[in-house]
Symmetry: C2
Subunit: 801 residues, 2 copies
């Protein structure tokens, strides 16, 4: 793609063994060891090439020892003022694509955290390349500590340290301690070689001595064994990667997957991930038998794959974010996990405070912890049902109370959470499922043409109003202005009519439960925020409809910011909250506050499971009693586990910092090259913004005027594209998006060294993509560019079919 | 307690500020900085004492600079050949208990990971003390890398690094980079002081120059500000600790807790945890106002508290285990979390293979991942119900099928999991709960006298057999011998009679779900393994009882190791598995294999939530279909998160290593000092073992002959003590164990510096304790000793009442 640099890629070839040489300190002999390794490789693998690479030159001193290895190709790739990592990857890829086999040693400069030219430390910089590491240990005074710390800095960045090499030094004998330490604790072999001769003044004698040292050293069994170990590890890494999909197809039972048709070739093998990208094994049809492979042995085995489902909507701060890894490790090192019932620890309390404050919802006063969105929903449900039962005086048969919700909602996979949604493909075959409630069909919002956004009314409501067109998404989201214009009245009539009918039928409800703004798993439905707002208000203003045959509702003179009215209102913000749609809370789009709010996914920035259910004091009080068993009977073993809380704290605070610093200003502002009209349209936007450019969304609107597409929308980091069903199948079982998904997985054009692809999940006929909160503008534009190509082609194919 | 050394304790006093000075390397000026800090403290806080402590003397060179600070008390505490950490804690505690206020600087030797006298690196050794750290950065060439790596090694061990100090050095200017790095990334201030003068040959001039350097330096505003910052952090740490319980009582909604009576003083404030112990805030009634405190300001604020519920049964390898922290960070740095549907990554696959292999159950072939025991149970349930529905041809009304189980079972907090247990205090007030199934009353096993173990039959079964006494627990667990003697026949008759009756009533079941050997939350009931074995066999051998009005069961000629028969058998090993009871799988005690097995808690060694549901291929095939929606519709966002899988892999493998190495041999062998009879009794034990000594369990049996206690049992790491109800209340609401619990929380005798207590959870009248898998013999004997005292006293009190 012109103008879009390829993403960083992990480097792996079958017949080329690349290793990165890191030093535990400066002056530990990195260059000496790399020279020894290179010379030994040349000696013991004489038919292969050996290259000694220094990505960055920091001065002539670094090259001092090159003269002792004239047989080795030795290159310094870059000047000190270049950003190194992506360039290194591209450069190495280009260089190596034509090689048959060999050894390549990449020597880093200084210690593991010595700053690179860009300022980033090297350990951070080279992470995505995932090169196996040879760590040169420090044999000097204090070197034990230096070596272990350097190892840990690499380890927590996902590096595999394959070997520790160091000089055998007699005074401090660090190698004795380190050998035991690394072999016993980490199964990593430690090898030593003698120290080089002391330098002498006479250049000729000096050179001679060094030359002899290198000749002897590189021919030694130690070096040979070292290289054999590295080769064996390289081969077993590839063999494992290549067998994983087959093993997985035999041993793993996959979530939400019909495995009858899941052949091993359809399983994505993920070697690692960094930022927005997985590094995945390139499918090679016959790659289990190199002798008969149809691809050259020189093909790259790994490729970057944009994680466009944000790994089931969880990713925020990017894969393998070092801050989150460090936060996780800190909490693990301070607490492990500690009991939370009747106890408290700092990360949990600080997180509770931060989330409660960040929500800016005066109702929410308390935080309950659980493990995922589904359990968080069950907690919310238990809270609401109890509050309603106590308020309305239902005696002992709370199980008759259902939930009010929207059609297309989804709240989780446990049976109680499933029961909160209407029957459908996600639950109707689950044996214990029984939908308990009533679900309104809601109007949805789509960009359906170059010019306009459209609110599409469901069939049963169409009689009440009509469909409406808006010039911008902000106009749709300006719910107060629309309310002032009376646009909510049709909704209100529709809602009240149905609520009255339900009440007349004796139906009983214990909660209004909705996903604010977007129904995710239900098909990425952007629901008219005015409808949700009106629904919440209608429920609150009509408590008489909900007493459900119990005692009359208490007088609602007590309705203030804290006290719930009508029904406890639950907002499931698991998917929509915490900046996924551009704001801390998705509820803020509606301008109404929930009594109970559920959070997960982005809460931990995409690292570990954790969920929080926030509730008002008014809900909390319904559980107060002298009877212990009136308490909220929920609490998983790892409730408020310190690792999750610390990671969430780091993550939420970082996103708040990003917002305060205006890190997403580029997304709110019109894209470069936008014409005046677009700029003007976009800049007046204050209510909504998206990383997806208005220009691109407009283009999608235009495409939606054809029979190929039904509509699109973009908000925050999410983009949804609804394709027209080709066979009339709607919903989760629709297959219209599959072809586009496959084309995106096919990926970009370009050679082996620049190709990348896009990993998406589809929901029936809807293709969606979402970025992380750290994804940069350039990457989004790259995705848009690839999408344009792909959709254009697919649309042409569809016309021809 | 005589002979039992007090556990390591975190050191915190209100008016004494202790800091640990770590160096990023050797020769970075630790002693210079510590001397400067000490002299500055003396200067700016003239009315307080200042102490400069070197826990370990490594030679006279270390003390070189003492002569420049004659006004400072400076001590080297220990010889090089002593274990340092617990001694340091005790020594400091003793020394400081009588101090009013002051500064104490503890200088470490070498770098952060320099080995201590015991061989453990210092960063590991001093972890439990939780002293705030002043890190002396490295201003030399390569020092940036050394400083950052040293910081990370401390951070992942839970240390709080409060300041980075280093020399202002003009050639490399490390301080410029480090200041930006630490302040921006970690909010940690970096301060510099000039380098000390070059040493000169003339001792007098040298001393004069250094003396002047120290005088000028220690009086500088930089040092003053540094100390003020440390003081402010010290004070805010204490203020936060002291306000946390109040804040928590206002902001946190606690799991399984009736908060009406949970006053702040009842909330345990956990500062940190290490090994078996929490470090908790010592309750100080008026400690929010130091002026009026009833305790001296010199009292220790933290105390070690043995985590005897293993933090809700999760802890295995000890709190804050560095290997698990590093494993978590490694996975976080390699992947973050990555999508698992139709994808695979190494930690998940390796864990699936390890667990499947470790179970040694030929039926189990596949692993499904979820987040906790409750979700893992719901997955198991969905699996079993589908398999049963498909097998028996029930059309579309699988929801009628319940589970067969045991009374007192508990499988989790989500509503579907709750529905798997009979109505009781844990669920009957949950609005949507409806027990779906039938639950047998089972015979339980207790040590009820000095001589014997007793199998207690439930009332409804007593007519079928009688109660039986056994000389040892192994005799109870020798199910094959008992079966050979026909002891199972009464059980079988009892079970079949009921199953036939249920079948005649048209009851339909989709699973047999049991917790093998021990029912945990139901009250720590050790169920006769012969009963569970007989139940499983009866279900398998009588498929005709389970067709439930559907098509006839298929001929069971296909019953082999893989194919389920009668009902899918689910073993919930969440609590009982993975060495909690002494074996990898609790199922192995029964000698029958499950078709589906659920694992969590110890799976991750006590760090983060993760659950696995293992299933046979026969169960898996019931979901195979051309229809996508016939798939198992379950899958949480963080399914098979890499951090959890990596930690679990590390944890399971470590426990397997411990077993293979015989790390628990001390527990299997008779205790030192046991008399011949006991040794003989114990040594013939091959089937069961426990960390709790037979001598102690025998003593408990003896106590059970009195009206105070009803019985006890010990198996693996678990000890259960059933007290006699004082008011006739049985089950979860019983209160007999409360007094003993309170006494254990009161803790050991001894002064401020050696006191520790035991944090337990009770289940009604049953007090239970469990250790981790790394808890050593000495600690268990210490617990036994404290329990003996406490129970003896409580029994006396009961007699008098």
């Amino acid at each position: 793609m012109p103008g879009i640099p390829p993403p960083a890629r992990a480097l792996l070839w079958r017949q080329l063994r690349i290793h990165q040489v890191y030093g535990a300190n400066t002056e530990v002999g990195k260059t000496v060891f790399t020279t020894l390794l290179s010379k030994a490789a040349r000696k013991f693998w004489p038919r292969e090439e050996t290259v000694f690479l220094k990505p960055v030159s920091t001065g002539p001193a670094d090259d001092a020892d090159d003269r002792f290895a004239p047989e080795i190709e030795s290159k310094t790739l870059f000047q000190y003022n270049l950003a190194v990592s992506p360039h290194l990857a591209a450069q190495v890829s280009k260089r190596e694509a034509s090689r048959n086999s060999g050894w390549l040693f990449v020597e880093t400069a200084g210690g593991v955290h010595s700053p690179s030219p860009s300022g980033t430390t090297q350990a951070d910089l080279y992470m995505p390349l995932r090169l196996p590491v040879v760590l040169v240990g420090d044999s000097k005074l204090g070197g034990i500590s230096q070596t272990i710390s350097a190892f840990e800095s690499l380890k927590i960045r996902g590096y595999d340290v394959e070997m520790v090499l160091l000089f055998k030094e007699d005074q401090y004998q660090n190698h004795l301690y380190l050998t035991e330490y690394f072999e016993q604790k980490h199964g990593i072999p430690v090898k030593t070689v003698p120290e080089p001769p002391h330098r002498v003044a006479d250049p000729k004698s000096d050179a001679q001595a060094m030359s002899q040292y290198y000749d002897t050293g590189s021919a030694s069994p130690v070096l040979h064994k070292t290289l054999q170990h590295l080769e064996a590890r390289h081969e077993s890494r590839i063999a494992r990667l290549e067998s994983m999909s087959t093993t997985a197809s035999q041993k793993i039972w996959y979530p939400f997957t019909q495995q009858k048709h899941l052949t091993p070739s359809k399983i994505t093998v993920i070697d690692s991930a960094h930022g927005d990208h997985f590094q995945t094994l390139v499918p090679q049809p016959t790659n289990t038998n190199p002798a008969t492979t149809t691809l050259p042995g020189t093909a790259a085995l790994l490729q970057p794959s944009f994680d466009a489902s944000a790994s089931w909507w969880t990713q925020g701060l990017g894969h393998a974010n070092p801050s989150l890894a460090l936060a996780a490790a800190h909490a693990a090192g301070r607490y492990g996990h500690v009991m939370f019932a009747e106890a408290v620890h700092e990360p949990a309390l600080a997180l509770a405070e931060t989330l409660l404050r960040g929500m800016r919802n005066p109702r929410l006063a308390r935080a309950f912890f659980s493990d995922n969105g589904s359990t968080g929903t069950e907690v919310a449900l238990k809270m609401a049902l109890r509050a309603a039962r106590v308020r309305y005086g239902w005696a002992g048969d709370g199980e008759r109370a259902g939930v009010l919700g929207l059609q297309g909602s989804y709240h989780g996979d446990t049976i109680g959470a499933m029961d909160c949604s209407e029957p459908g493909v996600f639950n109707e075959k689950v044996e214990w499922y029984e939908g308990r409630g009533y679900w309104f069909a809601g109007p949805t919002v789509w960009r359906t043409s170059a010019e306009a956004w459209e609110v599409v009314l469901p069939g049963e409501m169409a009689g009440d109003g009509g469909q409406e067109r808006f010039a911008s998404l902000d106009d749709v989201f300006d719910v107060e202005a629309r309310e002032a214009r009376g646009e909510h009245q049709a909704y209100e009539r529709f809602i009240l009519t149905r609520l009255e009918k339900l009440a007349a039928e004796g139906r009983r409800f214990g909660a209004l439960m909705i996903e604010p703004v977007v129904l995710g798993a239900g098909g990425m439905l952007l629901v008219d925020p005015l409808f949700q707002r009106t629904l919440v208000k209608a429920v609150r203003q009509n408590p008489h409809l909900f007493s459900g045959g119990g005692a009359l509702a208490e007088p609602d003179a007590t309705v203030d910011d804290q006290t719930w009215s009508g029904l406890p209102v639950i907002f499931d913000e698991v998917f929509t909250g915490l900046y996924r749609l551009g704001r801390f809370s998705a509820a803020s789009f509606l301008g109404v506050d929930a009594d109970i709010s559920v959070h997960a996914k982005l809460l931990t920035g995409g690292l570990v499971p954790l969920s929080m259910t926030l509730a008002s004091e008014s809900i909390f009080r319904a559980f107060e009693s002298d009877d212990k068993s009136d308490a909220l009977l929920h609490g998983h073993s790892y409730t408020a586990h310190a690792v999750g809380c610390q990671v969430a704290l780091e993550s939420v605070r970082e996103m708040q910092r990003m917002e305060a610093q205006g890190d997403w200003a580029w997304a709110a502002a019109a894209p470069e090259g936008a014409n005046q009209e677009l700029t003007a349209e976009h800049n007046k936007s204050k209510l909504t913004w998206s990383v997806w450019s208005p220009e691109f969304v407009r283009w999608l609107g235009q495409l939606s005027e054809t029979s190929f597409m039904a509509g699109a929308w973009a908000l925050g980091s999410v983009l949804a594209i609804k394709l027209t069903s080709v066979d009339g199948t709607e919903g989760y079982k629709g297959g219209a998006a599959r072809a586009v998904q496959a084309a995106l997985l096919q990926g970009s054009e370009g050679g082996d060294e620049t190709r990348w692809n896009v990993h998406t999940r589809v929901l029936g006929n809807t293709l969606y993509l979402m970025t992380g909160q750290k994804t940069d503008q350039e990457s989004v534009r790259g995705l848009e560019s690839l999408l344009r190509e792909t959709l254009t082609q697919a649309s042409r194919d569809a016309q021809q079919a």
